[in-house]
């Protein structure tokens, strides 16, 4: 399956889903006018990708410093899928980056960890 890449814009994150090497990256901010439209493709590709996994390790890196509530829902959908992939015997490692002073992003990450216990969650506090 081919790599899926979208460059960042002022209100959408960089999406670097390097499926061949099992590495997924989201970086930047997410508040598109229509989150469903923006994430539709991303979720569809991820579904396809998960379908092809056979007890493998996927490295997920999330480096977002803002996302609005409709993006939040889409992120939940994404991690719901990855959590299922983990339940099916794959290893999903999630590096959740947050600025060391950004309690808001950290809290959201901890919620994710609680909701999706099969994902190996690592909070990565970034000093800046």
């Amino acid at each position: 399956m081919e790599k899926f890449y979208l460059a960042a814009t002022s209100n959408t994150p960089e999406v670097d889903f390097d499926f061949p090497v099992r590495r997924l990256l989201l970086k930047g901010e997410s508040y598109p006018e229509s989150a469903a439209a923006f994430y539709g493709d991303i979720l569809a590709k991820t579904d396809q990708f998960i379908g092809e996994l056979a007890r493998e390790t996927v490295q997920v890196s999330v480096q977002l410093n803002y996302f609005n509530s409709s993006s939040t829902k889409m992120l939940f959908s994404l991690f719901d899928r990855l959590n299922q992939a983990a339940e099916e015997g794959n290893t999903i490692v999630l590096d959740w980056h947050h600025d060391i002073d950004d309690e808001t992003i950290l809290e959201f990450g901890l919620e994710l960890a609680e909701d999706f216990p099969s994902i190996d969650f690592n909070a990565q506090a970034i000093e800046s």
Binding site: Y31, E33, S69, K73, D101, E103, T104, S128
Partner: protein, 417 residues
């Protein structure tokens, strides 16, 4: 006022044209006679344009060695551009602009030829086209803004009764920031005083119901959602009364899901909404000295006024109201909070907490918000409000606003028991 320019024909400049029978020496003469003449269209006998001779290109050719000798007596089509942009007068200027851009650099010097049913009418200039496009965009923008400003009048009139009720109930001990990001928005509040039956059979005030909703999206879609949320709330109160916040959230959930047909699996491939709201409902009972709070993903901040205890933050339930993923029969919890001392509560949307700013470009955050609010704990209302507004604006700095922002601060003074 200038004539509204909508079609290529509106940009028409009459310009004389020649035919292929003209020789290059005739063209040279025409350009010499009239120094303002930049282009000469060449037409077939039936009036269809064949091409365009550009003054500068023509001269640069005719000054090459031996060219005058070789070409003076030849047909003028020798140095003619055979592919000028030719457009029908009825073409809309948006489409004309797209074609002009595709044509490339030469469009700036050559302009375009305007025809009706293929027959030459005259020429158009790019500068005129740019003027027309600028005017068109300004007009469209103005219409959009006027439309949203009118929508804002409607949205504000829905909020007015609550503003008036707040002013009457809390003459000098409440403040409110309601600031949609884009004139209209997805945040709304609702406030009603509540009554209980008194011993003599009449009713008397026993507290209030305060509601803050942050609907999906912002701008126009957010504002649509606030109208649905407002109707849902009114219907829920009519059915369940104004004393049970959790029951109201459950009823609002069902109303939104029904209204947006989120429960309907029969719609096939048609796109159904996955919209809803985060928010909270607070019922304050001054006789019982407590508040009951039910919330969907939205924290409530409570600050004691008689001593300097830290602000308490009550988390909401994690389920959103409405939304395809929330079941029709979803329920929320009522949390009972005793209020025996004078306290100030803050109903805040995530637009405040998540706003990006500061040196690090990270969220404003709950901790910073608590600091700001606690610093002005004993100050009067204008001072409290000004302190928040300044701190938030300073933090946001040059960053754009990310979301709608609402903050409602209410002072609770319990009745003595």
């Amino acid at each position: 006022m200038l004539k509204e320019i909508r079609f290529a024909g509106d940009l028409l400049i009459e310009a004389s044209a020649i035919t292929p029978e003209f020789k290059n020496e005739d063209v040279l003469a025409l350009f010499s006679q009239k120094s303002s003449l930049q282009n000469l269209p060449v037409l077939l006998d039936d009036g269809r344009p064949l091409g365009l001779i550009n003054r500068n290109l023509f001269h640069s050719n005719m000054t090459k060695p031996y060219y005058p000798e070789l070409y003076s007596q030849k047909s003028c089509i020798a140095f003619m551009d055979k592919n000028p942009l030719i457009v029908e007068a009825s073409l809309q200027i948006e489409q004309l602009t797209a074609l002009a851009v595709e044509t490339g650099n030469k469009i700036f010097t050559d302009g375009f030829i305007i025809v009706i049913d293929g027959k030459y009418q005259g020429i158009g200039q790019v500068l005129d086209l740019m003027h027309a496009m600028t005017e068109l965009q300004a007009r469209q923008h103005r219409q959009l803004i006027e439309s949203i400003e009118y929508a804002s009048v409607i949205q504000q009139s829905i909020l007015n009764p609550s503003r008036m009720a707040l002013d009457a109930y809390f003459p000098d001990n409440h403040w409110l920031i309601w600031a949609p990001r884009d004139v209209v928005g997805g945040d709304i509040f609702h406030f009603i005083p509540t009554n209980a039956a008194a011993k003599d059979g009449t009713t008397e005030n026993d507290g209030f119901l305060a509601v803050l909703f942050d609907c999906t999206g912002h701008g126009v879609p957010g504002a649509f959602m606030t109208l649905i949320a407002e109707s849902a709330l009114a219907q829920a109160i009519a059915t369940h009364g104004d004393h049970d916040p959790a029951a109201l959230l459950a009823a609002i959930n069902q109303y939104i899901k029904r209204t947006l047909n989120q429960h309907d699996k029969e719609t096939g491939t048609r796109e159904n909404s996955d919209d809803g709201l985060d928010g909270m409902i607070v019922r304050y009972d001054k006789n019982q000295q407590h508040l009951i709070f039910a919330s969907a993903r939205n924290p409530l901040f409570i600050m004691k006024l008689d001593h300097d205890a830290p602000i308490e933050i009550l988390a909401g339930d994690r389920k959103g109201v409405g939304y395809a993923s929330t079941p029709m029969n979803a329920t929320w919890q009522n949390h009972l909070v005793p209020i025996h001392q004078p306290s100030r509560i803050f109903l805040v949307t995530d637009g405040v907490i998540d706003q990006v700013g500061g040196v690090k470009k990270i969220a404003f955050g709950k901790r910073r918000l608590c600091h700001v609010l606690a610093d002005v704990r004993h100050a009067d209302v204008p001072t409290q409000q000004a302190a928040f507004v300044k701190s938030f604006a300073d933090y946001q700095g040059q960053q754009s606003r990310r979301d709608d922002v609402t903050l409602l601060a209410l002072d609770l003074i319990p009745n003595p028991t």
